[in-house]
Every structure is written in C-alpha cells, then in structure tokens.
Symmetry: C2
Subunit: 255 residues, 2 copies
C-alpha cells in the first residue's frame, strides 16, 4: 500500500515542541511535509496574508524523513501555500498542532491551529487539529501520543465526512490519573470574560493588555468541556458552514 | 424612548469611506461610538492580539455626533476593547462595515468585518456586518444606504436570536438596474481556487503573492451567491457554534 502524504502545520511556530512531537509521530504513518509558521501565530484565527508577500523556505530543523518549509505567514497561509504551490499531489491527511493549550469550546474560532485544519477540510482533505491542555514549553506529550496515534489511524482508515475536520483536545498529564478514553462531543457554550489591563508607557501614552477568564455556561455532558473536565480526550467535528439554519425562517418573517 | 447605543467598527480602517458612510447613517438611529482599526485589517478572520499590546486613542476623523477611537488591533480586538474597557454600558447594537467587497459564502470565515459581528453576537449584542460588492474607494453607497437603514431598523425593533448575527451583502450599483429586494439565505458552498505567484526579490530570494479565483459549486437558489447574482441583498444568519452535528453519530461509531 502506498504511504499516505501527510501535511503538518501548527500555530506555535515550526520549532515548538508540539509540532516536533507531531512530526516524529506522523513519520511513522506516511511521507511527511511540514509547512509551518516561522514564529508564533497563536490566536490568528482564519487570518490570511493578502496585502503583503509570503516567504517560504525549505529548512532542516532536526533530523528525520520529513521535508520542512518555514513560512512567514499565518497557519491558513501555510496550508494554502502547501496545497497550491509546494506539493505536487494533494495530501491524504492534514494535521495541525500539537497546540500548547486548549482549543476547546469557543477557543476554536480564535485558534490558528484549528483554522489550519478547517482550511484543510475546505480543500477536501481529511484534517485534524490536536491540542494538549498544557501551556508549558516542556509539556509531557507521552500520554497524548497514544491518542494522537489512535485518532490518526482511525481517520486514515475511515476518512472523514466531506467538509468536516476534527478538533481533538487532550487533557494535561496528571500524576496517578490515566486518560479515561475518547468522547465525541459538541462545542460547549463557553466564553471569555475579558478585562483589559490599562498601563501607561514611559512617554505617558496609554496601552492595553488583553486578559480574561474562561467561563463555561454549559452544563451539558455531551460537550468538550465536560469531557476534558472528566479527563477524557474530546473530539468535536467542525465545519465551515456557519449559517445559523434555525434562524432562517424567523428572519424570513420579519424581512 | 432612550436612543440606542450603537458600536461601529470595520476591517478596512477608521478612515475608509465604507465606515464613514455607516457612521453617518447610524447617527440617525442612536448614540454612536466608533472603535475601529487604525489601518487596513482585511482578511484577519477572528484574529486577536494576545502577545503584544494594544493602542487605542480617542480621535476626531470628521464632524458628527459620534465618539471615535482608533485602535491598533484587529476588528475583534476593537469589539472586545469597546465592550470591556471603553463603554460604560453594553451596546444595543453592533454594526461592522460597510466592507469594500463581498463577504458572501466562504468569504465569511476570512472576513474581519464579519468576525467583528460574530464577536458582538458572542457578547450577546445584536450584530450586523454590512458589505458592498464594490472594491473601489469611491464606491457608490447610495442604494446600499436604503437597505442598511431597513435592516438596522428591523433589528432594533425585533432583536436577534441569541448567538446569531447577520451577514448582509449588497450588490454593486448597476446603471438602470434597481436592487430587487432582500433574500434570507444560507452560505453558499463556494471556495477559492488559489494560485501563488512566485517572484524573486532583488537579492535573489523567492517570495509569493496569493492570488485566486472564486468558484461557486452551489446551484441552490436559497444561497447568498444566488441572491447576489440576481441583484438581491443577501442576509445570512451566522453563528459561532461550528460543531458539525450530523457527524457526531458517525464518529461515535468509529471511535
């Protein structure tokens, strides 16, 4: 059987330990091409570069069978550039991550990691975003790896519904507590309660830092937040049709 | 009756003619506060600024009853900063635009204009993104204005379903052809077929420009693309839950 062609990207940048681990794992599944941002691009959502140019150079970050490109753009730019310029054939799989931090519930719409996976789905490629609920640079990916292998194997075998990608979040390693398994979930209704910290620069001019508290309003046991709080891996199928279908008929009455 | 508090933003920047027209129109409906990017932020999607600081200064661009702030961040940053820092009470309405160019079908997920409206909806505020299918700086907003007034009036009277905002696209003015009315639609299944133009800089290093062709695969007459092609204003209700619900049960079988 032909080895699958696997495109790997992320939003933490090509040298982040999350993507280095993901590349190592993916090398066991297929022929890997990495096209990833040259630096951090977290919280870039579905941003693309339209008013300036993109740089993209082949580099070697560390040894392995993968081929790697470092790109000046956003995660979505990386996917577009890979598919439309760098690769000769369409990838069989697109994986993004392993993100350092959660992309559960509402975080999915801000996430560069997940936007790359959504872009993969838009191109008709089975795509998965992986995130570990551990922000630290030296996060322990060992337990996550088992689930990343399982999800990857399953997607390679079964494919994916058209236009759908997977948002996979993995609990942080806790001593004496094993991950309980996988839950297929919906996106929880949660939000950030933001506060801005106002400061004054040495020249006397104001500036702001975004800070915030994550608040989950959703008590459903079918949500990603519930799964993660109960130490399961959460998988939410995600799509790019953001039409609010139930509102179509009510709007048709008032317009 | 109390005049509504209206937050105005966009992604083309605070001095773009689209937002200047929108501010002028909104001054007739309520007390207007503008918090908009200090320069172009098109195609920024739902990007937010988390690793650097935001600047936000009160300015006067031109005369009017509005209060205005120019912000260094993305459209979503502007909405967050307005609601959580600058405004004392929650706005009754959030409007974004008038965007210079279409945000129909798949463009909605790349659009800074629409991400600002989605962020408004996330905050529980009735929110509308307005776009005119005319990229030119001196676009004719006269016919668009009638529909912007109608949609604004209707939303102020009827409110909006929770978590939903409106993606309003308005056809370009064509001589001897009047807009046919409003259609409530779903997001068409369309996509960009991208090509990158590779060039070489004066130092001999490669760089890329994103170019692309918009392709509509969707023949449905209930889509925004159909409405716009037939010279109607399209209104698509949009939400931020991007769970692909139909895929939950099929995934549960294979995992």
């Amino acid at each position: 059987m032909k080895r699958p062609l696997i495109l790997v990207t992320n939003d933490d940048g090509i040298s982040a330990s999350g993507i280095r681990n993901l590349i190592r794992i993916m090398n066991d599944f297929g022929n890997v091409v990495v096209v990833a941002p040259d630096g951090p691009q977290s919280a870039m959502g579905h941003a693309i570069t339209i008013d300036s140019v993109l740089r993209c150079d082949e580099i070697i970050v560390n040894k392995g069978s993968q081929k790697e490109y470092s790109c000046s753009g956003t995660p979505v730019d990386c996917v577009k550039l890979a598919i439309n310029q760098l690769l000769e054939t369409k990838p069989d799989l697109c994986v993004s991550g392993i993100n350092h931090g959660s992309n559960s519930s509402i975080n999915v719409i801000y996430s560069g990691t997940m936007s790359a996976a959504v872009e993969g789905a838009l191109e008709g490629i089975p795509s998965i975003g992986f995130s570990l609920l551990d922000y630290s640079h030296d996060a322990d990916f060992s337990e996550a790896e088992l689930y990343i292998r399982k999800v990857t194997q399953t997607v390679l075998e079964h494919g994916m519904d058209k236009g759908v990608c997977l948002n996979v979040n993995i609990p942080k390693v806790i001593e004496n507590k094993k991950i309980q398994g996988i839950k297929i979930c919906r996106q929880a209704r949660a939000n950030w309660e933001e506060q801005f910290e106002k400061r004054v620069d040495p020249k006397g001019r104001a500036y702001y830092w975004l800070t915030g508290k994550f608040v989950n309003y959703d008590e459903g046991k079918d949500t990603d937040e519930w799964a993660l709080a109960n130490h399961y891996v959460s998988i939410v199928p995600v799509h790019f049709d953001i039409t609010a279908y139930p509102s179509i008929s009510s709007l048709a009455k008032i317009f």
